[in-house]
Subunit: 85 residues, 6 copies
């Protein structure tokens, strides 16, 4: 599998969050390219509370990047508060 990240911009925060999840998976994929081994590991970390928290930490870090890239999905850079006041 070869990832091809074309843009960090998304239409909505939800799509941005989904991209953050993808980026987090890409970080694992690059270190363990075998889908077979990754699938073997899934039941381990997906049922371990601390692993799930650590995954959420990675996603949060990537979401910071994606959110900044999208200027936090605000309407405009010069008038940042428009739309939520």
């Amino acid at each position: 599998m070869q990832s091809n990240l074309r843009s960090l911009t998304t239409r909505t925060p939800q799509e941005g969050f989904d991209l953050a999840v993808t980026l987090s998976q890409m970080g694992v994929l690059v270190t363990q390219p075998s889908e077979e081994i990754r699938e073997l590991l899934r039941p381990v970390y997906s049922t371990n509370a601390d692993s799930l928290i650590a995954v959420s930490q990675v996603i949060a870090t990537n979401f910071q990047t994606v959110a900044a890239a999208n200027n936090y999905w605000r309407s405009s850079c010069s008038r940042p508060h428009i739309g939520w006041r």
Copy 2:
């Protein structure tokens, strides 16, 4: 459960903090979609000090994002100190 994150802007810091908590939960939810398993894990991490600290770390990271998105709930970008001097 399907999350639908529509905006990062909130009216108050408290609502922003609540959103950070939601984002942190979304990071777990996406990895472990089964509510049943998540409920089984809750008593494990909620009574473990290190797990609770790790959860607070994830929330802190997401709160950074939400706070920046809301320009830290300051009154104005051009006069950032208004209201707290």
Copy 3:
């Protein structure tokens, strides 16, 4: 206990640090609402070096947010260096 975070702005860096501590505790509180259980856990993490370091990491992350919210308690945005040159 219901937190009510009204503002991220503080008068001094010390008050900002105290707020960062509060934010870190809020992240624990939201996951473990029982004060009784939290009090049971206190002697565990407060006498464990690695737990204390992890707590300090959470506070540092929240302090980043609070410090940015207060423009690092500099005098002015347009003349950021006033006061420390």
Copy 4:
């Protein structure tokens, strides 16, 4: 092996992600210069879910840096949303 990091700017987000991976490896390389030992460790961390998550965390942190360096691969600083609206 001697790294020579010449620039943080890349043409695409994918190349930026690849650079983030390289930076993460450089952080290991500087501490363990022996390629032989690093190769011995690879099967350990590449089959351990928590290690893989931790690697993804490092990459996410470095990707924040690279993405900011490239202004998130947006078209222009003054008109940040061009291209994704």
Copy 5:
């Protein structure tokens, strides 16, 4: 012991790093106020490689804050590169 953090601005990067160390210690101090217990823990974490790395992580996070507060000790905001070109 009562900390009193008056300013994040320092004259030099070295003083800024020292302040980051102080902030990291403050994060421990607020959770374990007893100097006696902290002194008992010192030989534990100061001879444990992973604890030392974790301490360095906290300091790095706080140094980010202090460095930003000091505008990275650059000469001027409008001409950021003066002095290092």
Copy 6:
């Protein structure tokens, strides 16, 4: 040993990365000043995958600071894309 950090500005990204490594070591040094003990710990963490990943995380955090301090080694602040378009 007494560190003396004079500036965060470097000529190249590689020198910036090297400075990030130095900052990471300084964070350890301040907690464990004994070179003898640090040398004893080196074979422990340098042959442990998780320790190496954690070290790389600290370096990544410090590299964020150094890269920002150098405006990511871009040519100019007002024309950030010059040189890589």
